[in-house]
Symmetry: C2
Subunit: 154 residues, 2 copies
DNA sequence: TATTGTTATACTCTATAACTATA
DNA sequence: TATAGTTATAGAGTATAACAATA
């Protein structure tokens, strides 16, 4: 009985730390991006654009998991602030072709190196074995969370 | 050189998993709370109210780290959906006294047990030693993130 | 003079539904 | 008939600034 209780306390502490980490990561991203005139959602779109290359809004909507209407708004904002351009699609006249501006490409490249630098900041002092354990445990937790989310999908 | 590179790959993988975990935790909370007619922000307010007991909006604003205006909106929503009440403050006639309704108290209690159940789901299969390692590593990462955020505060 | 909360205003993210142009 | 994107509409979270009531 005592053992079980102790165990639960440990699990709750782990969950609390995971939740705090989620909040702090979000705060950090929000602040860092704001310095570049970006939001988390818009940066996410830039991220997809970098991986996919120039593409249509419907591709962006699918990759981001948001509505077409939402992508219209995000692209509006990114065009207004000079990160991307909207041009006619070469072959499909219904669609728009979203591409980086010079500024968008540069900023996204900086974001990527900042991302690597953050990884270094957070995990540099961790011994290799410890990091491996941590990453594996994270993978297990992720797997359980995904299972839970799928189960809720019904 | 190779070792350093390998190391960085490990750190980046860890960061990517941390970020994915943050996203999935948020999705899970959003969906679970929606079933009760709540949002993450409103649930956060209820959480503070449970810890603090009935209190003024200014206390809630400070605890949540948001503006007074924002708290007005959150409490408006929670009053409209029947989770809390706004009453005159016993001693300070400028302030309002925010308290749980029956429904609010019950729902928050359920949230708390769901929280424990989630901890169990995510960490039940983890060996005690592994969980300890994981929690300690999380603590280290949190400490570094906090340091980083404070440094940015200038 | 300082504090509490609201009104006024504005921006962002998000969604569904109706509609236009095109495939 | 189906798809791509926009307009229309709506709700939620967030902020600052001006203001009223009270301390």
């Amino acid at each position: 009985m005592v053992k079980y209780h102790q165990y639960m306390v440990g699990a709750e502490q782990a969950l609390d730390r995971v939740l705090e980490l989620a909040v702090l990561m979000n705060d950090d991203m929000t602040r860092t991006l704001a310095k570049d005139g970006l939001t988390v959602s818009r940066a996410h779109l830039l991220w997809v654009l970098r991986q996919r290359g120039p593409c249509t809004q419907s591709v962006l909507a699918e990759q981001l998991g948001v509505s077409a209407r939402n992508v219209t708004g995000l692209v509006d904002g990114l065009v207004a602030t000079g990160f991307v351009t909207r041009e006619p699609h070469p072959t499909d006249r219904r669609a728009t072709h979203v591409s980086f501006t010079e500024r968008g490409a540069t900023t996204t490249a900086v974001m990527e190196s900042d991302h690597r630098e953050l990884a270094h900041t957070l995990f540099a002092d961790m011994a290799t074995g410890e990091l491996d354990h941590f990453t594996r445990s994270l993978g297990d937790v992720l797997a359980r969370l995904r299972t839970r989310l799928e189960a809720e999908d019904e």
